[in-house]
Subunit: 403 residues, 4 copies
């Protein structure tokens, strides 16, 4: 029952691929009613697919799925599956998402949706044609401090936006002796850190400041080869890395953006030594500035005002005045974790998938982000500024919306 | 089933009081199998008690308890309830815990167990007599960075411990216009910040460094009266606050402690303006030092070594080398939240309650902490150092254990 | 000439001991007119004493003293020496200061003035009898951020003071293989870290919050012996350390103090591994709190207010609104250095020594601080609270003065 | 005399313009022998020029110049003036510097040397023709932590450099109601924040990582008009700002650079709200990374190594192992100030001007920096990458030099 005792709406869930992310989606579904009881939504974990037997066993025995399959098509074909989580390896996202759309199933797909903007556009087209709601795993949007930053921007608290810096620096590929995997292969991953971390960052900037209008970019590959993976034909050799370790770009915003006229730079690295998950932004306006970083997701640095005796950055911990925070914790200084972001994402997905308003990101956002990456790749090749077309239906922060 | 497909052991759970903490316990039970599947333990939420109908409805409709009662005794009497979570208002903890012990039910009780060391001792006696496993809500013990600190101490990485500072500073009572509640009443709460925050801190110090041997303390009450609560006879008047806002003490460790010979100070405040949940410690040894704080629970500052060109504090994020971290997150920089600590606590409770080893805190730890608070109160009154007796069976960090 | 073209008053300076501190005093005298031109004070470096020829040569050749002596008495006897800087080894401070007083010379003496409160009292008596102005090397008082903190306290910005923590943690004696020197010998140094760092801290607390009324303390020696110094009879042996490495105390303020009723703790260590010069304080009041540390002397963390959406610590850099800052730097974020503090101290000394107002610390402050240390030593021996008498003429922050 | 008793070499100094910077140069000359006694260099402040009588009086009465003039040409013509400090308003730097060169006087000129690369090139040509040593006011080079960073880079400690971010963010022009001054006028200043802060930053990057080879840039002006200055014809009107508030660029290094192959971005703002003097860099290599900022000039964050249990940033305070530090302070944690950087700069200038090695920046460095700014301006106009020619004789960090 729901908090008020009515019969909840139970949604049948299908999961495709039972890795770390598939488990996280499943847990998010399971705990959702604890945090959003008034929604009246419960999930039933109906079917999970994984090519590996261990994945299927985990889905059944630990996550509690009612049935499992080796082939994801069986999940999509299951009549009791009403919505689908697509957590397969990146190179399969697009194919599966198109299939989900064609099966008429709303889907929650992890990023990157496609290996390229073209693949992502195909998914967009399929979802649009099928009319299915979609949600993308752009989880950084849901951080209460990020949502609060967006509110401050939209309320004009930091004035006219002048410049922004976004940075997503991880070190997960910093060891040159880590083996060559799909991550370093163009066929499987498309671009490198662009399609991985920069995709998140582009979406976050879209969400906070509006559509990026044009970019000029450079990319670099520094760890140029890696040991072949054991048990593959490459074992014992060094394999050339096929995509970039680092990318940086200058950006201009589209005229429709809340931050129209502002400038900035976006950087991403997968080989940074020092940062662990330094995913964050700094946004400057004529009246103030904001700084946030994922490594300390529960806090944000805020400077407002140019005069007065105590001008400077205040370290503010998320509290009940920040969106969603009080769903999770009762008082400031008590930290939410990463997993909570996925609960919020699950909620937005299920609300939209059950006919409610679409509060989260959607496939148009994935395409908008992918087009920034595509423009960046093109720019890195041509050394020219490249324009990124605005994607209809995306949820980036436009002047129109924020007005 | 368990991860390996065997039939899990299902444990019937009873909950007493359905407030924030009761909900948190319940969620922890529910998600436990996701994080510790190999334990083969599942819980069944059998019965919950709350004097308020809304609490009972929440327990049934949101948390999923099978039945609910107004009287906690009904939960204890329920034959399907095998273990009990005691999350009632503080002044009832001891009474209920004794009743749980007498009913032969292992219990997980929130702190403070008693309003005084005497009350806590009564619970200890009852639990001992009944032979029931117990777990106390000393959740800060479970933070991976705290566990890592304990490992470094026990491995001798920071040398001989010389001094420690513990501080638990919150601001939840900093507004003098917040009404007079149970928190400020001696009859309901016993001492003030001592029994609340300092109890946590004393336990954390015991866990990290060993039993505190003696203390000298002072306490202060600064917000001396508060508005009477609406709907009570005090409405419209100001009511004198009956217990302390702030306490500080010097400590010496018992000879059995890992930190025998070290000195230190422990402070707690409930009226600090600035800190939100600044609960932390700094531990110094002859070879290094450690600093941790709950507001940034996923990191720890570590300085090791006196010479070399880059001596200083390194900010280290919890990673897979820290205890329990990889149960929750795959890579460093991705934050765990407060709720995860309660999952770990639930696991330790259920392991001990089902005949496994007792890895967590127990009622002897609660008594050990309470005796420090009692000694502090006595010292504040007498202006003398007061000795705290060592409590048999507690899990503080002794030389013997760490050897 | 002065800034306005008048003939400046030239003051003849004597220096006793030409080590690091003597050089720093000399430089401060020399650059003073650059920073305080309107004072119309210039100094003439008349005579310096050092037992070592190299010190005398440095004084003459580098610092520009007109004449040098081996015996400090020759400096005091020099009729052209009007004021004296006493920078000799600590154990000689008192003897020389008494002699300076008897010679009728205003003196600026480094801390600790005496090896004990008794020695310091003798200096106070001599200075009082002679009627000479005095200044003590309590340089942390002069930091603009510290002065600003004092203003905020006195203006009531952080409300009624409730508690304070002071900490002076250095690591300069953290290596147990550093040789046994005067620092570790009771005859030469008196107490250990108490007389060294804690003396500074006690004065800083007096200056900010008013006289400390009573203390209870503990002390510890952890590096109990050290290699005998080469070229001494101890070479080749290990010599027992004779005074404490670490001290901590609880404090209550005197009723006359601005912070009357507040509680707190003061700690000092000379063997901390990690901190370099972590000399600082945290002061809490009913309306806000302040944090400052010497390692980052140009900034202060300030939290004011209990409500509102952005409560927390603001990192504020010293700017023109902070006392003395604009004498040294034009704009916030541009750092002053430690040496600048000595320029401010020199200015206060010379102003008072030439008949102007006494703005700085004086010998009564040195005695007040020494009495806190003496009380701490007594308390560490007796395990009792010990009262510290208020010293007439000191400049600690009393309610009367701040009114 | 020098430290060793020999007669020092006395250098006659001329100063042009007695504002804040002229005073700072003068003080640096005066205190130099205290910090570098073994050089055997003393200065005699011979002649100062300022168009304002108050400036001339200050030079004579406070700084101690022997004579003063209204016209800078009189300083250059003075036969006792051997070296010259050029601290005039920016738009006069080039004219005066050329005149100084033609007068055969080594000069120390503040940045920006010219309003454009063309003007700066003219100075370079004049200095080269005259064969006079030169020093540029690129003071951030001299910070011990910066010098240490350069050592780590050159020793390979952080591996192959992969990417860099430089940022110079000030808020000194953030108030739109501050009047229109020379700073906002193209005729007087050339470009805006490019020629001001970015010039410093480009030099710092050259010094640390080697010559920048090409850039693509964008600039923005956000506070587009300002009140006319009182007492000018513009009083009472709003005057359009003529140059940029903010600039950002991507950079590639020249093949000769230590960081050849690395990428990066440089940003500068004069209207940032929040930062005070956030002038700093982050440099990433395959084995580690470094972060430094002027607001905390005495420290640097260092992460070295990809594996091990305590990977992360260590906050390291400058100590005796850092270049120049022990000239100023005896022990780590005791802060140097901004003025000390100018003492080091004065030393390098005087050493080179008296026939010693040229350790500091020189006019070729000023031109190299100016060419980056010029390229950035061109790029901002054309939206193309623009190549910056390498300038002979500059001291940027090339592979050849660091080998």
């Amino acid at each position: 029952m729901t908090a008020s005792g009515e019969t909840p709406r139970t949604v049948g869930v299908g999961l495709i691929s039972v890795g770390w992310m598939g488990r996280l989606h499943s847990r998010a579904y399971s705990v959702l009613p604890f945090f959003y009881p008034e929604l009246g939504i419960r999930t039933r974990l109906v079917a999970a697919a994984d090519t590996a037997p261990a994945g299927r066993e985990y889905a059944a025995n630990v996550l509690g799925f009612e049935r499992t399959f080796a082939d994801y098509r069986d999940v999509l074909a299951d009549p009791e599956v009403e919505v689908v989580s697509i957590c397969a390896p990146n190179f399969l996202h697009a194919e599966i998402a198109v299939a989900a759309a064609e099966a008429g199933k709303p889907f929650w797909v992890e990023k990157p949706v496609g290996r390229s903007a073209i693949e992502t556009a195909a998914v967009r087209d399929a979802a649009e044609k099928a009319g299915v709601p979609t949600t993308i795993g752009f989880n950084y949007r849901h951080v209460p401090a990020v949502e609060h930053a967006r509110q401050l921007i939209n309320e004009g608290t930091i004035g006219t936006i002048t410049n922004v810096r976004g940075r997503f620096f991880g070190g997960f590929s910093s060891n040159p002796e880590d083996p060559f995997t799909w991550r370093f292969e163009r066929e499987q991953s498309g671009s490198g850190v662009l399609n991985d971390l920069m995709g998140h960052l582009a979406d976050l900037i879209h969400y906070l400041l509006g559509p990026i209008g044009s970019v000029t970019a450079v990319t670099g590959t520094y760890l140029t080869d890696r040991p072949g993976l054991k048990g593959t034909p490459h074992e014992g050799t060094r394999v050339p890395v096929q995509n970039e370790d680092y990318a940086t770009m200058l950006i201009r915003f589209d005229d429709s953006a809340v931050a129209a006229g502002a400038l900035g730079s976006l950087e991403a690295s997968r080989i940074a030594v020092g940062p662990k998950s330094e995913y964050g932004f700094e946004i400057f306006g004529t009246e103030g500035s904001l700084r946030w970083e994922f490594e300390r997701l529960n806090e944000i640095e805020i400077a407002i005002g140019r005069t007065g005796s105590h001008v400077g950055y205040t370290r503010v911990f998320a509290d009940r005045s920040f969106p969603e925070y009080d769903r999770f914790q009762p008082s400031s200084g008590t930290g939410m974790g990463y997993d909570d972001l996925k609960v919020i994402e699950a909620k937005k997905f299920l609300v939209s998938a059950t006919g409610g308003p679409a509060e989260g990101s959607n496939i148009a956002d994935a395409l908008a982000s992918a087009q920034v990456l595509s423009a960046a790749e093109e720019s890195a090749a041509s050394s020219q500024w490249v324009t990124t077309p605005v994607v209809p239906g995306n949820t980036s922060n436009t002047k129109e919306k924020s007005a």
